[in-house]
Structures are given as C-alpha cells and as structure tokens.
C-alpha cells in the first residue's frame, strides 16, 4: 500500500511562479485528476512528479522518502507520457513500441498486446512517419501499458484520440488501478474514472486528499 504525496510545492518556470503551495497525496488503487485552465501548471506538476524537474520549494515523496534521494529507484516506479510523443518516424510502429517496452524491461504487457489494446495492431509494420495524429498518440501511450510501472503520469492522454480509443484507454487505466497501481492524469475532458480525486490547479492552487 504505497503512498505518493507532495507538500506545498513551489515551482518557477521562465522567471514566473507557476505553482505555489500546491500539495497532493495519492494511494495505490487511486487516480489523481489534474484540472485547470491552460497554463495552470498541470504539465509542470506532472514533470515534477516524474522527477524531471526539482520543485523550488516543498517536497515530493514516496512512502515518506523524498523522490530526489534515489532518482534511479523512482524511475523504476513511474512511466511518464507527456505532450511530446517520443515516436521515431523512421521506425515502424512495432519497433517504436517494443523499444521502450524492452528498455523498461518491466512486468507490463508486451508491445504487440499493447498495440492490440489500443487498436493499432494492423499498423504494426508501418513506418511511424505515416501515422495520423491520433495513431501517433496511441503509439506513445503504448509506453504506459508496456512499462509495468506502478505510477502512470499521463499528460492529456486522450488528446487526438477518437471515442472508442478513449474508452479503451479508460478501461485499461481502471484495470491498472484495480491491480493496485496509481495514476495522475491531466485532462480537460473528464474521463469518468472511478476512485479519482480531482486537484484543480489555478492562480490559487488548492490541496486534494
């Protein structure tokens, strides 16, 4: 029963204060939905959670120990899917997907299973250069499915996805939570997850428990 939490986090980007005094806490089996207007700081918070940036104030901790203490350990716990889909145009869809799967060497599903779940297995051999926006997005989402990581950090995962795929994604996330995983998702369109706490960011960021 792991716990991932942050207390009064401050973050400054480009000489401007993005987050101040934000806090959150997340238990396994639960989801944290980040809402807020554009520029509220959702992506920033997710990057902080991933350990890509250090907060200028406050601390982010896993089971009470600051994630900065052992980054390698934290990296094994998380998977991060950001605005930028790390999809190589020159590689085929399956090559893209299986690379990250093998690199993480986690207990998640295999690359081809993930392609199946996201409904692009028929494109497996296609160079990613030929993908449409939503197809690219699905390829980058494969990373979460294959990683086997405990904490999924998803930045607007349903962007560019059609209704069916969004639904499939929701189911997958539910499954991940049911198996004791946890996730933090930034989104503008409510995905209707059960067991989800919502943290609304904005000029005055509140605290969600």
């Amino acid at each position: 029963m792991a716990e991932f939490s942050g207390q009064d986090i401050d973050c400054i980007r480009g000489e401007r204060r993005v987050l101040s005094g934000t806090g959150f806490s997340l238990q396994s089996g639960h989801a944290l939905i980040l809402r807020g207007a554009n520029g509220a700081g959702k992506s920033t918070l997710l990057r902080l959670m991933a350990g890509l940036m250090r907060p200028h104030g406050g601390r982010i901790s896993w089971d009470g120990t600051d994630i900065a203490d052992d980054p390698a350990e934290h990296n094994r716990r998380i998977v991060y899917v950001g605005h930028a889909d790390a999809v190589k145009p020159a590689l085929s869809v399956i090559e893209n997907a299986s690379f990250w799967a093998e690199l993480a060497a986690g207990s998640g599903m295999t690359a081809s299973e993930a392609l199946d779940v996201l409904g692009i297995s028929h494109l497996a051999e296609l160079p990613a250069r030929y993908l449409s926006a939503g197809q690219r997005r699905r390829v980058s989402l494969c990373r979460a499915l294959t990683s086997g990581a405990q904490l999924w950090l998803l930045d607007e995962p349903s962007t560019a996805l059609d209704a069916d795929t969004t639904e499939a994604l929701r189911k997958t996330i539910e499954g991940h939570l049911a198996s004791g995983g946890m996730t933090a998702i930034s989104t503008h369109a409510d995905m209707g997850l059960a067991a989800a706490a919502t943290l609304t960011l904005g000029p005055a960021s509140g605290v969600a428990a």
């Binding site: 390698a72 990296n75 930028a84 020159a90 690379f99 690199l103």
Partner: protein, 221 residues
C-alpha cells in the same frame, strides 16, 4: 534481453535508417578534400605537403556535421527525457550513443582515407601512421563532440554553435595527428604523437560521458 543491447540496436537502426548515413559521411569527406585542389591549385608536391593536414581537417568537419544530430532528434521528440527517466544509467546511454556515432561515422572515414591519400598523393611511407592517427583520433572527436551536442540542445542553429564549442577542444588532436606524418618524414618517429593521441583518447573516455550526461540532465529539466 539486456537494456544495453536493446538501446544499442535501436541507435544503430536509427543511425542507419535516418540520420547522417555512413555513405553520406564518406561522400562529404571525400568531396570536402577534393575541394582543396580546386581551391589551392593542383601542384602534386604542394598537395602532398598539405595532404595530411587537409585530410584531417576534413575528417574533423565531416564528423562535426553528423554530430549535431547525436541528441537533437531525441531531444525534440521527447525521447531524451524518457531516456533520462529510464532505468539505464544516463552515462551508459551516452556511451552507447557515442559508440554508435563512431561506428557510423569514424569507421567509414578511416575506410575512405586511403583513397584520399592517393588523390592528394601523400607519400606511402606515412600512410600507416596517418591511419593509426585516425583510428585513435576519430573516437576522440565523437566523445568531445557528444559534450558539444548535449550543450547545444535547445539552442537553435546548433550546427555552427556546435562547431564553435568543439573545434577548439579538438585542436590538440589535430596537431598531434597531422603532426604524426611529418614526424615520420623528418626522421624522428611518430611514436610520441600516437602515444599522446592514445592518452587524449583515454582521458576523454574517462571524462566526457559524465559531462555529457550532466549537460543532458540540464537540457531536459
């Protein structure tokens, strides 16, 4: 299968499939060298005189051209931050990328060199020394280049900036490497030069991966 080999095969595949393909590097190398006779005129003995230097400078520039993309692609499409987050140590990732870069640029350069020796009619007796100098020198170019390639992430028009950062650092390599030829011609053997090159290689092997990894961490933060 081990993460290292996974990474290695991916890098190699990408290098061969998209970025500065080895054939291209050779082509640029040859053409750049070929430019000089046009520029400075065709007298054979003068060409022989400047040959080693020209060849080394062009090898340097060819390596440079392909260097910019070492991390840029991964940076722009977000792969780099994921590699930082990956369980593999970033220093190791860097070493792999450098190794692949050398395999796909340095080695082809070495293979193409003899052809250019003929064209610049470099005296036969210094061929082996020059080849040795390339063998020891080109990995240094890839290593030092990786630092520059990591430093320019984010800065636009990388190519030129990269050359700016790297060229001064590799001048010693150039001096000893191109000097090796003369050393042989003027009696005193090239052992010293090659030893020095080897030393530089070991030194940069020991230091650059950390510098590069750090630069990358800064870039993705």
């Amino acid at each position: 299968m081990s993460a290292v080999s996974v990474l290695f095969r991916r890098e190699l595949r990408l290098a061969l499939r998209q970025s500065a393909d080895s054939v291209m590097v050779i082509a640029f190398f040859v053409i750049a060298v070929v430019l000089f006779p046009f520029g400075v005129g065709p007298e054979p003995n003068m060409l022989a005189r400047i040959g080693p230097g020209v060849i080394w400078v062009c090898a340097l520039l060819a390596a440079m051209l392909s260097m910019e993309r070492m991390f840029l692609g991964d940076y722009e499409d977000g792969s780099l931050e994921l590699l930082v987050l990956s369980p593999v140590a970033l220093e190791l990732v860097v070493c792999i990328k450098v190794a692949v870069h050398w395999l796909t640029t340095g080695v082809p350069l070495i293979c193409a060199a003899p052809l250019l020796f003929v064209m610049m009619n470099v005296p036969e007796e210094i061929w082996p020394v020059l080849l040795w100098s390339l063998l020891l020198g080109t990995p240094v170019l890839s290593l030092i280049g990786s630092v520059g390639a990591a430093l320019i992430l984010g800065a636009r028009r990388g190519g030129v900036l990269l050359s700016l950062l790297v060229l001064p650092l590799v001048i010693p390599v150039l001096i000893f490497a191109a000097g090796a030829g003369d050393a042989v011609l003027f009696g005193d053997g090239a052992k010293a030069n090659l030893m020095l090159l080897g030393g530089i290689l070991l030194g940069s092997l020991a230091l650059t991966p950390w510098a590069t990894a750090q630069a990358i961490r800064e870039a993705v933060a």
